[in-house]
């Protein structure tokens, strides 16, 4: 039972990070129909920016995360303008290739600036609490709490504000959005900004647990793609549910089968779900 609870907690902590990263990816896909293969690289960049702010500039952790989110939002905007906006009416494969180019560039830049080594991100939340035999580290509580907070804020922003509604509107009908006077360019930029900021926040939250390195985005990249496919491309609840689902499959595979099989089973679940429901869990029927 304790084992189960402990793994549940582990899974939820990991799931919050997956969900946060997947949300950014699914938002961009939903609104712009771009499979942004550079998303993992933005995640990585977010971790490094936070790391630099913490260790070089010496800003407190939470403030550093906030600033990193802003910096990444800006990077997202630049990326949208320079690369993805010009490709918006082209085939997905082309956007994918361009995204791979961006990924190469960001990874190489990180290695050039910070070196190839793993780096440890310091955190003030190093404590451990024991709840009914379950080890609860403060950092993981922070991961869960902050992710949930960010998701709620994002949800309220999308559902309760007119600006948020413009994002949903554009996802549902781009021309319709233009027709009511929404500046779709601005919404694209906003979406990229939010997407990159979410990735940065997720990375900064998990980094004290998982280390920072130039290639840290590659692994998460495949996973979040799996997640948004699992959840249904462009679906926000799909990204959240998919994120927790994959994390729980992974942790429970680790717990009850074998850690080495966690990935394989995660992807097997994806293949099975898609074979049964080709468009993912949360897509509307075709």
């Amino acid at each position: 039972m304790t084992l189960f609870l402990q793994q549940l907690f582990n899974g939820i902590a990991l799931g919050s990070v997956y969900s946060l990263v997947a949300l950014g990816l699914t938002l961009v896909f939903g609104v712009l129909k771009i499979p942004n293969f550079a998303h993992g690289a933005l995640y990585m960049a977010g971790a490094y920016v936070t790391y630099a702010l913490l260790t070089i500039v010496g800003i407190p952790y939470l403030l550093a995360i906030a600033i990193a989110a802003l910096v990444l939002a800006l990077m997202g905007v630049v990326l949208e303008r320079l690369v993805f906006h010009p490709l918006r009416d082209r085939s997905h494969v082309q956007a994918m290739i361009a995204a791979i180019g961006v990924l190469f560039f960001l990874e190489a830049s990180a290695q050039k600036l910070f070196g190839a080594e793993f780096r440890m991100m310091p955190t003030p939340y190093g404590g451990v609490v024991n709840l009914m035999g379950v080890t609860v580290t403060t950092q993981r509580l922070l991961v869960i709490g902050a992710s949930l907070l960010v998701m709620i804020v994002l949800f309220l922003f999308l559902k309760r504000t007119v600006t948020g509604a413009t994002i949903e509107a554009m996802a549902q009908n781009r021309a319709g959005a233009q027709l009511v006077g929404i500046n779709t360019n601005r919404v694209s930029m906003l979406t990229f900004a939010i997407s990159a900021a979410l990735a940065a926040i997720a990375a900064a939250l998990i980094a004290p647990i998982a280390l920072v390195s130039p290639t840290m985005g590659e692994v998460i990249n495949t996973k979040v793609f799996a997640i948004i496919i699992l959840g249904g491309m462009g679906s926000i609840p799909g990204a959240i549910v998919g994120g927790f689902l994959l994390a729980l499959v992974e942790t429970f595979t680790t717990a009850y089968i074998n850690a080495d099989f966690a990935d394989i089973i995660g992807f097997a679940v994806l293949v099975i779900v898609l074979a049964i429901r080709p468009t993912g869990l949360f897509s509307k029927g075709t």
Binding site: L3, A116, F118, S213
Partner: protein
């Protein structure tokens, strides 16, 4: 006056870039030293060296292409390669025309088992660690081993032989909960599962920094026992991530900086000054490798005949300047394996201390 190119093909980008750069820096340092001292005298000629490094991203096919390039474009008689896949691939053609010496930095047994005549293997076989590691930790902590190392090829091989040794000495071994240390985001799930078996000792290891994280996760979840740390992880890098106090009860490779002997101390000081980071055995062994080759050229009186140079390697290690022989090597065995002292360490009383020394 002749310049000999020394080739290096290793990961300089991607996930293993840090490792590749470490190896590269050891080679680089030795070459710079030799050149600064005016080179070596081969026959009647002064010979200096030039390092040609190529990135292979840890991919064997890239290693093969790089190696051919080093041979054809740079006439390099030696190619340093720090990963088993690449080494095994080029061993397929290093005894053909043109011949070249593979300088292997990998402790994969197959590399020397194949009987390749032109291979010089730098690190000691990892199996030498097993017996003392198991003995020490089993005595100190108990007979139950939890297994949670990295799942790389190297990690798997280590796991197989180590767990066999653990059983041989009368212990019990839990399920293998290995995870890929290069791709895992959160180790807690694997640690939780391993700790559920209530082990006394954990076998861990992979790149240093993730290894430290596994220790951290285990301690957070209340693990009180000891650790057997695979030689890929280095205490002197791990203590950058977790305090030494958390590593209490761990056995592993003694940090180079704690290795007694003038050559080691000199090397550590020089390396830190030049590269602004902590040197480990990766740097030191490759550094020794270059010096040994230079000496062997001198002794063989040729820069081209790699078989002759290879033949002189055992003598070269004995004859090489004492202050370059970081690990007090006494030679090279039949199969091309460098015989060196690698001292084992343990964390005891909050300090990293020497365990026992063995020779191979």
């Amino acid at each position: 006056q002749q310049v000999v190119n020394i080739g290096f093909s290793g990961p300089l980008s991607g996930g293993a870039a840090f490792y590749g750069q470490n190896v590269q820096s050891g080679i680089d340092m030795a070459i710079k030293e030799i050149n600064k001292a005016g080179g070596v005298k081969v026959g009647n000629e002064k010979v200096t060296f030039n390092l040609v490094s190529l990135d292979d991203k840890y991919l064997p096919n890239e290693t093969a292409t790089n190696t051919r390039r080093l041979l054809q474009q740079n006439n390099a008689p030696f190619v340093f390669i720090p990963h088993a896949g690449g080494i095994l691939t080029v061993q397929g053609f290093n005894q053909r025309n043109p011949e070249f010496l593979v300088v292997a930095y990998s402790s994969e047994p197959k590399i020397v088992e194949s009987g390749n005549k032109l291979t010089f293997m730098l690190p000691p076989l990892y199996t030498m660690y097993h017996e003392p590691f198991v003995k020490t930790t089993m005595q100190a902590h108990g007979k139950k081993l939890g297994v949670i190392p990295t799942t790389s090829a190297y990690g798997k091989a280590w796991t197989d032989t180590l767990t066999a040794e653990w059983k041989k000495q009368g212990g019990t071994v839990g399920a293998n909960n290995g995870v890929d240390y290069n791709t895992t985001t959160d180790y807690s799930a694997a640690v939780t599962k391993t700790l559920a078996e209530k082990p006394d000792v954990l076998f861990i290891g992979g790149p240093s920094q993730p290894t430290a994280l596994v220790i951290k996760a285990a301690r957070e979840q209340g693990f009180k026992g000891g650790f057997i740390v695979m030689d890929q992880a280095k205490f002197e890098e791990m203590d950058q991530i977790v305090p030494v106090s958390q590593m209490e009860g761990a056995v592993g490779v003694l940090p180079l900086r704690d290795f007694r002997g003038p050559a080691a101390q000199k090397f550590v000081a020089a390396y830190r000054a030049q590269y602004k980071k902590e040197p480990t055995s990766e740097m030191a062994l490759n550094y020794m490798g270059v010096h040994a080759l230079a000496k062997a050229m001198e002794l063989a009186g040729t820069t081209k005949d790699v078989a002759a140079i290879r033949a002189k390697l055992p003598d070269a290690l004995k004859a090489m300047p004492k202050d370059k022989n970081v690990y007090n090597s006494t030679g090279v065995d039949e199969s091309g394996h460098m015989i060196a002292q690698r001292i084992m360490g343990q964390v005891k009383g909050g300090r990293i201390t020497q365990l026992t020394s063995t020779q191979r």
